[in-house]
């Protein structure tokens, strides 16, 4: 099939940029630890969340120097634990979140933490809080009438 000379140049340029871009994305994801969240398979019976570890005891646990684990359950229309989480500046927090009913979202405004919470699955994401402040954690996937009220905060000081 015949391609116009300029069209060939245009496509060559476009396709090369595309290849470079995809390689950058792939390298960043697979060798620099920037995969999308929840890369490990981890399931839980969604009807027994409150009885299943670690969700039988939701909350913040210190697991190392400046390293915390936040175990949370999303439900219509809130999060467990329901009180604001508090961590010192510079803390690295592993969020481990599941849902005890429908699909929810989990986003921390002002950070790149943004993931789906799907019943039966456990979502994982890690974030280091370098700046102090009161961060808003909100549900950003429609989950029912009270969806817009579903939020808590994490205080970094």
């Amino acid at each position: 099939m015949h391609l116009h000379r300029l069209e060939k140049t245009w496509l060559k340029f476009g396709i090369s940029m595309l290849a470079v871009f995809l390689i950058v994305l792939g390298v960043m994801a697979f060798s620099m630890g920037m995969k999308p969240p929840s890369e490990h398979h981890h399931t839980v019976d969604p009807t027994k969340v409150a009885e299943t570890a670690p969700f039988d005891n939701p909350g913040l646990n210190q697991i190392g120097k400046n390293h915390y684990e936040a175990v949370m359950t999303a439900y219509a229309f809130g999060f467990e634990p329901a009180v604001p989480l508090e961590v010192p500046v510079g803390s690295k927090v592993d969020f481990i979140v599941t849902s005890s009913d429908v699909v929810h979202g989990f986003a921390i405004v002002g950070t790149n933490v943004n993931m789906m919470i799907v019943p039966g699955e456990v979502s994982h994401v890690t974030h280091t809080f370098d700046k102090p402040g009161e961060y808003l954690i909100l549900c950003n996937e429609y989950c029912g009438t009270g969806h817009e009220f579903m939020a808590i905060t994490i205080v970094v000081q």
Binding site: L6, L25, K35, T145
Partner: protein, 544 residues
């Protein structure tokens, strides 16, 4: 000039008018949504925000688009494949119309009764009334019948015209409907096998991850189902409207085939932020997603080549002199052209959304809502609006008057200005983290959320301007239906003399369907097996 077959024009017009009735009702919902989100109004207690949003999503994304597309494709198929529809095709068109309409009316009633506030993506385990799912199934099956009508007409034409190249419009319509048939199988399985038995209570649980995957197997090609008919207008109609030629027939066909191949095995780019799918398969589908950039670049090249060749044939000088020669005052060109122009930033936004880990920045924020309001609700919608100004006169035996043309120009500008404010504000505030699909709340006046509100007000201003645009387009349709009688040609472009003969392999359907299926099997088999083997059943919930 042969005038358009009168019984076919009834079928086409029925689809077009239904589409715009849906747009009008959806537009009322859209206006109210944008007012609520800005805190300017509160809905009366008996209307829920999410009922409106479900109605808006369904009526705009599913009903307006599908009806217009079926009507438009039937018109071109009738015109280019023999001048009228075969009785079988016309019947299938009407049966499809009837099924889709029963489905739509039923669905809207169930939504407004508050029995299905699950939004147009109906994510399990939120459990709507079974009648909502049945309504959707009727719409899909109806659209299948319409698709079969197009295939039938095409096959009969090919039999009667052995060895001849099919008309470009018809070829593109077949690709569009083929894409639709292949992708709707996913959502049909989800609805019929998983959701309907579950919502009737015949089974207790649903495999949530599987249902989401089947939905998005359909959800991404859905956007190409909207876009391809707009491309048909750009490739086939616009060259004729401006008085130019189609740049290359074979490249146009090739680009459509590439869209068919690369718009289906890519649904995971809507599921990048969710658990239950391995990062490898997500990335693989991201790579496949980006392959559609190639036919998009080809389309952009062809469009501007057509424009430049036309301008130069009219004596344009210099590198950009041809721009001045384009018929800027003709709405049949101007509306789709604005659609094309806006598709440049819109497509760039799409690349950002699909960029694997970068999706975390925008996922489920208003950025995404801003994105599809400039893609489908502007690039596609403006092209559809632009089509009205020749389609209605052509099929009803009337002419476009200068006054209607002017009203069309005004409507186009109103739409662009409204979208500039609404979609622009959505994009920006989305980057600040404001969530989509969320009624008004400032989260106890959290400073971040309070800062979003000025943008939400800009959205409401844009939404109000857009609503004026909705009223004007309805007014314009009425005007077109009452325009003076006369003959209007159905504009079908001719291929430029310089362009080469189209190779026959572009019409070997078996080959292309085979590759499409192979890519789908490759991209989906292992993840699906994994989801079925690791099923974690979930009961249903009604949370609204």
């Amino acid at each position: 000039m042969k005038s358009f077959d009168r019984s076919d024009s009834k079928l086409v017009l029925a689809h077009v008018l239904f589409a715009f009735a849906a747009l009008f009702i959806g537009g009322v919902a859209g206006l109210l949504q944008s007012m609520v989100k800005s805190g300017s109004i509160e809905l009366p207690a008996n209307i829920g925000y999410y009922e409106l949003l479900t109605a808006h999503g369904v009526l705009m994304a599913l009903i307006f688009t599908t009806y217009f597309i079926v009507g438009f494709l039937y018109s071109g198929v009738s015109h280019t494949l023999g001048g009228k529809l075969l009785p079988v095709s016309r019947k299938l068109g009407w049966y499809g119309y009837a099924l889709m309409s029963v489905g739509t009316v039923m669905g809207v009633i169930v939504i407004l009764l508050g029995k299905a506030s699950v939004l147009y993506t109906f994510y399990a385990p939120m459990k709507a009334s079974p009648w909502f799912y049945i309504a959707l199934a009727l719409v899909v099956v109806g659209s299948w019948l319409s698709g079969f009508g197009i295939f039938y007409q095409y096959i009969r034409w090919k039999k009667g015209n052995k060895g001849k190249l099919s008309p470009l419009f018809a070829y593109m319509s077949v690709v569009t409907m083929l894409l639709w048939q292949i992708c709707t199988i996913g959502v049909a399985i989800e609805v019929v096998v998983q959701l309907i038995p579950w919502s009737f209570g015949w089974v207790d649980t649903v495999n949530v991850v599987l249902s989401r995957t089947l939905f998005w197997y359909f959800g991404h090609p859905l956007v190409y189902f909207w876009l391809l008919p707009a491309y048909i207008c750009w490739y086939v109609v616009i060259p004729k409207v401006i008085g130019g030629k189609i740049f290359s027939d074979s490249l146009a066909r090739l680009s459509f085939m590439l869209f068919l191949l690369f718009s289906i095995p890519v649904g995971f780019h809507h599921q990048l932020m969710e658990p239950g799918i391995s990062p490898f398969w997500k990335y693989l589908q991201v790579v496949l997603t980006f392959m559609v950039i190639i036919p998009s670049l080809m389309t952009a090249f062809s469009m501007f080549a057509t424009f430049e060749l036309y301008g130069r044939s009219k004596g344009a000088k210099g590198t950009f002199g041809w721009v001045k020669k384009l018929p800027w005052k003709d709405v049949r060109f101007f509306a789709p052209f604005m659609g094309m122009l806006i598709f440049i930033p819109a497509g760039a936004g799409g690349i950002i959304n699909a960029s694997n880990q970068m999706n975390a920045v925008v996922h489920n924020t208003l950025w995404v809502t801003g994105h599809f309001h400039i893609t489908v609700a502007t690039s596609v919608a403006l092209t559809f609006f632009g089509i009205l100004y020749w389609l209605i006169p052509a099929i009803t035996g009337r002419v476009l008057t200068p006054r209607m043309n002017k009203l069309g120009m005004i409507q186009t500008i109103i739409w662009c200005v409204g979208m500039f404010f609404m979609s622009g504000a959505m994009h920006i505030v989305g980057l600040f983290g404001s969530p989509r699909r969320t009624a008004y709340n400032t989260y106890n006046d959290h400073p971040d959320a309070v800062l979003w509100m000025p943008y939400h007000v800009a959205m409401a201003i844009g939404g109000s301007i857009l609503f004026i645009g909705v009223i004007l387009i309805v007014y314009n349709i009425i005007g077109l239906l009452r325009a003076p009688r006369g003959e209007t040609e159905y504009p079908i472009g001719e291929v430029s003399e310089a362009s080469e003969k189209t190779p026959a392999f572009l019409e070997r359907w078996g080959l292309w369907i085979g590759i499409a299926v192979a890519l789908i099997v490759f991209a989906y088999t292992l993840p699906l097996v994994d989801m079925i083997m690791n099923n974690v059943p979930s009961p249903g919930y009604v949370t609204w």
